[in-house]
Symmetry: C2
Subunit: 256 residues, 2 copies
């Protein structure tokens, strides 16, 4: 029974896409069949896995507006056990186009209902906003991973994000759980990283993953080769950090 996990935080540049790609790749490396869905119009997860979104005909957009079946848009990646439903820039219009539709928040949930059975994990990369695309992802999810960059501005938006999760739980998805808060771009050399990490642990307590993602240039280099870190440089700290995160999530969901 596939567990659906959204990677979401409206703050920009905190590591949502890097987490979606590398967590999904790590789960696949441990032989858990995984599907990653890119619902960000920027399509960074799509290109980070080596696919040019301009060449994509059936993306998550076509699925959400009903002009394509899910099975027509699933693509294989370089990794066994890892499939992708790509994004496309035309998702930019989706939020406006969905406004008048009935049950507009449940469009994604319905679209992936059949396919989730085929995977152990479904990972959804969200855009930097709390608009209808992210609401669709949260409504379709069992839980959310919240990447928090170890910097000051990243702390500011957490209250708003928790508020949104509460509203989604009340009206759209009572099962939505916090899978965990993930500290990203942690730089042991700076006082700032340590201060923010302490603050996040005080605020979230045991909901903070033990695995922390270090700031590691290999994670930033890998997408330019269209590969997850574990195919680009499996010895890198970044790749090992995400593998540890995958193991921690698997252990936590042992009943899978």
């Amino acid at each position: 029974m596939g567990k659906v996990i959204s990677i979401a935080n409206q703050k920009g540049g905190v590591g949502k896409t890097t987490t979606a790609i590398n967590l999904a790749a790590s789960l696949a490396a441990i032989e858990h069949p995984t599907l990653v869905i890119d619902i960000d119009p920027q399509s960074n997860t799509t290109s980070g896995l080596g696919i040019d979104s301009k060449t994509v005909t059936n993306s998550i957009y076509e699925i959400m507006i009903g002009s394509a079946e899910v099975s027509e848009s699933i693509r294989q990646t370089e990794l066994d056990f890892l499939d992708l439903i790509p994004a496309h820039i035309n998702l930019v219009g989706a939020e406006i186009e969905m406004i008048d539709r009935e049950e507009r928040e449940r469009i994604l949930k319905k679209a992936i209902a059949d396919v989730r059975e085929r995977y152990d994990f479904v990972i959804i990369d969200c855009p930097p906003s709390l608009g209808l695309l992210t609401i669709n992802a949260l409504t379709a999810s069992d839980s959310i991973v919240i990447p928090v960059q170890c910097e000051y501005f990243a702390l500011e938006g957490l209250g708003q994000l928790l508020n949104t999760i509460k509203i989604v739980r009340q009206h759209l998805n009572p099962e939505l759980d916090i899978e965990g808060v993930l500290l990203t771009m942690y730089d042991t050399r700076t006082r700032l990283s340590n201060q923010v990490a302490e603050e996040v642990k005080r605020y979230f307590d045991d909901r903070v993953f033990k695995s922390v993602i270090a700031r590691n240039v290999r994670l930033a280099e890998a997408p330019s080769f269209g590969k997850p870190a574990l195919l680009y440089d499996s010895t890198s700290i970044g790749s090992k950090n995400y593998l540890a995160l995958a193991r921690e999530i698997i252990k936590k969901n042992r009943k899978l």
Copy 2:
């Protein structure tokens, strides 16, 4: 005659807010009266200048929906010559609320028409999207500064941003100019920074600012004290980089 400059790029975390705060502070330090407007619901520019957006009653939101005058919401900051119109989280609803209004793209332009005369520069910090708030900023602006983080994903969205600028020029604001492309978080030690910088220079040629913003932890620490880098640590590389950028923009606009 105040020059209105938007700081915009839909890619998240590329340094829009850091540029808005520190460029505005540097212009003010060189005694050019400057107004900074925060139209991002995250309100990071507001808190980065020491104001808690939750305590704000008249923000840019009240101005755009017409329930407050501009003069009622302008606040002074710790710096002479620098004023702020703060943001508030209720801006999140603004995009939906403005959808049915007439000339919804020109709301901000009309709202600030009177006030721009009082400043040499008006700097607008935009959210990480190309929605109605950013379109309002581009329609109200003389030019745009495009921060580009020296990393791979930051390159991907530039085509879409240029497209949006073209559309705004054709339908809403024929005068909209590119003030310049600003390389941010440049790390001389990594090959990635150099590769991305070269690519940006090939693509934008002489529209790339000579001033480059180095990755400098002081820029990330300053907002937690509610101060621009200039007041937090004026000897830091980050503070000096933004002062150089301010001088470059002033020189370019000598006719002011």
